[in-house]
Amino acid sequence: MASAGVAGEPFFALPFGDIVNYFTPYTAVLFGFALLFTLICILSRPEQQLDVVFGTDAYYAKGVTGKELRFRRFMSIACGCATMAAMVSGDVFNFTLFVSMVGVCIIGIVAAVKSRHVLDAAYNYGIIAIVATIPLFGGAAITLATTGTLSIWELSAMASGMPLIAKMLIIVGVMGEGIAPFYAAKAELFRAPGAPYVIMIHVSSLLMFLRVVEILLTV
């Protein structure tokens, strides 16, 4: 069972075959937060972004409407679902899969924006998201090969646990999908209109990071 020192006792487990999702106080808090923001995404209408035309007093409103609105809402809901699943996942590989799914969804949230600047950031972020899957899956695979299991419960009960190199790989992977020194792309992505959806980008990567810290301290 997960050690109580890091995230509290697990109080509820949801098994899907070999993949057991569990809720500790910590993961439950994160799950709740992801759920809250997903609900906001579903229910809220996007804001109308006002832009000042430089050098004049004029300003205009950029709205998010029609097809684009529906598409981006769908993407942010998918992103929220993936985040929720990653929060409670009790399996290393499953976690990495959901992290990559968050990466794809983040690209999707801003892909519909027509601004070249935002698309440029999305493209660079996308490249990072692709290559970040290598450290992620690599870390999970090395864990499997050297310990013979992927379940976080089993790993935390083990004396040796996850090898150092696997931990490093996973953290580098999550860094790539998420934040850390690669904030430039995120900041540019944030310039896109559509507040509830854009915020989902950061909600998911922050939560992802919080979760991976817990995993790495546990195993």
Binding site: G103, I127, I130, A141, A145
Partner: protein, 199 residues
């Protein structure tokens, strides 16, 4: 005594380092995309070295993630650069008239026999080859709808396994068929997206 696993791992790590070192100097966006494809290969090798059935079950999701991200990012690239024009059909070779039918049929039939994601990928290769050579006007939304329903079917199959395990047989058939349909539909649209306008 150093085992084969360690040797393999060292070689693959060297490969990963080598691929990423190419990123250091690369400024061209398309080159970056191709390099990302290359890194996928190096990454899969790490999983492959584990050599159990489970490792194999992990490679397949890894492959899917790679190809789907590649698809999305390449499309973003095209949108960003506004490269919308259709390539003109200036050029053909004889085999492009004769081969696609038979090769496509063989691959698709084999893919249907295989079923699951593997079969979907094989059949999709056949379909893309066909569309690429013949050029095809396609009902885009119809195919998308089919694949969306296939996705729903697969989710239903998953819950069959989890909630009513005694119907496992039903679940296997549904899952295999649904993923096949889904993957074929999605991937073959690449071929359609490449070809002539489907307006």
């Amino acid at each position: 005594m150093i085992s084969g696993y360690i040797i393999g791992l060292i070689v693959v790590f060297a490969g990963v380092a080598l691929t990423f070192s190419a990123f250091l100097k690369e400024r061209d966006d398309v080159h970056k995309l191709i390099l990302a494809d290359l890194t996928e290969i190096a990454g899969l090798a790490i999983i492959a070295l584990t050599a159990t059935d489970l490792a194999e079950a992990l490679i397949i999701p890894g492959l899917v993630v790679g190809i789907s991200e590649l698809l999305a990012v390449s499309e973003i690239y095209l949108t960003r650069e506004k490269l919308f024009f259709q390539p003109e059909k200036l050029f053909t070779i004889e085999v492009m008239d004769s081969a696609p039918g038979i090769m496509g049929a063989v691959l698709v039939i084999f893919g249907i026999i295989l079923s699951g994601f593997t079969g979907g990928a094989v059949a999709a290769t056949g379909m893309i080859f066909y569309f690429l050579c013949k050029g095809h006007k396609e009902r885009f939304s119809l195919v998308e709808t089919v694949s969306a329903y296939a996705w729903v079917l697969w989710i239903a199959a998953f819950f069959t396994f989890m909630l009513a395990p005694s119907y496992w047989f039903f679940g296997v058939m549904m899952a295999g068929g649904a993923i096949l349909a889904k993957v074929v539909a999605k991937m073959s649209l690449i071929g359609a997206m490449r070809g002539e306008s489907n307006a």
